[in-house]
């Protein structure tokens, strides 16, 4: 299998991006959308249930993409960078809602 030719460092970088970057991205995505929905007047319970219906599908997509993407830097930028940005926005939104 092609894996034998792959350096451990590269494989590890992708796995970390897919698992932890993916988690951070989905956390940011979920909290941001829930915040936006609640701010728009949707009940919290409804917003959370609705977002969780799609959260794992989003995770599945970014997880696969983390291995398929050409450049590692793109993966880290979107998953860790984007995830952190969305989490920060959600945190700000939550502070205004609470």
């Amino acid at each position: 299998m092609s894996a034998q030719a792959l350096p451990v460092r590269i494989v590890l970088a992708r796995v970390l991006a897919g698992v932890f970057g993916g988690y951070l991205f989905v956390w940011g995505f979920s909290t941001l959308i829930i915040g936006v929905l609640v701010a728009a007047g949707v009940g919290y319970g409804e917003a959370q249930t609705g977002v969780m219906l799609v959260a794992f599908l989003v995770f599945l997509c970014v997880f696969c993409w983390a291995f398929a993407a050409r450049r590692l830097i793109q993966v880290y930028a979107l998953l860790f960078g984007g995830g952190a940005l969305m989490s920060a926005l959600a945190w700000w939104l939550a502070a205004t809602l609470n």
């Binding site: 299998m1 792959l6 989905v26 919290y44 997880f63 696969c64 291995f67």
Partner: protein
Amino acid sequence: MFASFRLSMTWLHTWFGLVLGFVLMVCFFFGALSVFDREIDRWAMPDTRFEAQPMPSFDRVLAPAFTRLRAHPADMARTAQRVHGALPHPDAMPLQSVWAYTTHRDPVLAVGGEFGIPNQPLDPTDEHLHVHGWTTLDPRTGMELPQTSRKIGSEFFYPMHYSLHLRWKNLGIWIVGFAALSMLAALVSGVVMHRKIFRELFTFRPERRTQRSALDLHNLTGVVALPFHFIFALSGLMIFAAIYFPVGQTLYKPVAKAFEESEAARTGLPHDPAGVAAPLASVDAMVVEAQRRWAERGMAGDVGLLTVEHIGDANAYVSVFRAGTDRIALVGEGIHFKGTTGEVVYEDPPKTVVSGINEFLTGLHLQHFRHWMLRALYFFGGMAGCVCIATGFIFFVEKRKRQHAMRGLRGARWDALAVTSVTGMVIAALSLLVFNRLLPMDLPDRTYWEEGSFWLAWLLAFVHAALRTSVVARSAGMAPAWREQAYAISLLAILAVVLNAVTTGDHLVRTLSIGYWPVAGVDLGLLATALIAMIAARRLARAEKGLEREASTQDGGQSLEASRV
């Protein structure tokens, strides 16, 4: 890191499938057994082998039973670590709320309650200031069942499939969640890898080399049961969404709490006790009224869950929920009564679209319904998952072994792990059943010995697999560990059936003639397991002999082909 999209998906499929496949095997196997968890309970608890019972009368049976209920020692110990000072004696703790739960397959009734304590919590924000008690009743008499044997199906196999019995910080649930995500990724990447999906539905070449026929079977089971596997991995993740993404307990805690409080206020049900003692009106009359209202909505049904909050207080209220016997979505249709008068305070409103979808997916996974055909399909869907993962392992191991043999390498020993997680797991489950029948009923801590036999048998299977796979690490052909463990499965399965007949008298002739399907079904399943394992072991033995002959005559493919059936 890869030249093409397909290559990256192949890598993802191979390595995540392999590493998390060991966990997925457990999820699928014990998940499939959980479809018949109540039936396995009956097999393991001979004194509960009677017909399923509806929710008994609260006024006559449950009310006296709840006066005998006490805080559970296990929860006493857990609570003692969270509060200042010593807990009062269980007899001195006031009962604050009760619940009773049953399904259309339960002859026994699970009940429990919460007991108030005067202690202050160590963590001032801890609002969970009560101790839980729970037990199992014979609903015909209200008497507690002796706690000599665990409900192996619903209390051991069922939690195994989602928590691996690793309860520390929900570690098992997190591992299973990661495995479920990998399963979804393996399904997607599997489809990308194999572009001829339709053709694979009709391709199985058992006469070909192990590696080839294993791959055929892997593709066949993967494609046939693909929607089933996808939906189950996904809905399993959704069921534990609040653990994987605890947004309501962290970032949005105040929002979530305010929402819950406003929802609770809208129901008009009292959140706190009044502090004034008051007797409970007839709960049986409330159940009759709840059933009348369900029938009016065109969904007449039985009671699945009955709860009383603030029991014995002027603010007591009774909630009656419907059992999920006749539909996929888990809809409770709760109707709530004022405890002291029996008047209806609140009815659960119709579901929104989003909660409707969520309840449908949850219900689809938890399968409370009575449809036996669909239940059987679930079981075979889960077993197809096991076959898919096991053949994936075999394909990987055989291919790797051939590559290593060609290059004169000794690679990592994945085959011992594959044997342990396929046949070893079945051996462990069968050992639990065998020891359930062998251990004396009056043995102290009997359930710990039963479970000990499960883990020990699995460990022994691993040791055996490690010893008996090295023999062929260099040559092609399946390791002898597969054959030997298949024989062990056969023997253990037959032993379990014999032990059941000897120790309980409920042999197959009897259970089949009176139509007692819970025990007859488990026995028949065990015999089918024995038969399949025996056939597999004999075929493996023949293949091994063929390979030996091939090796001794230095003859190539022809004798190998001829020796296989």
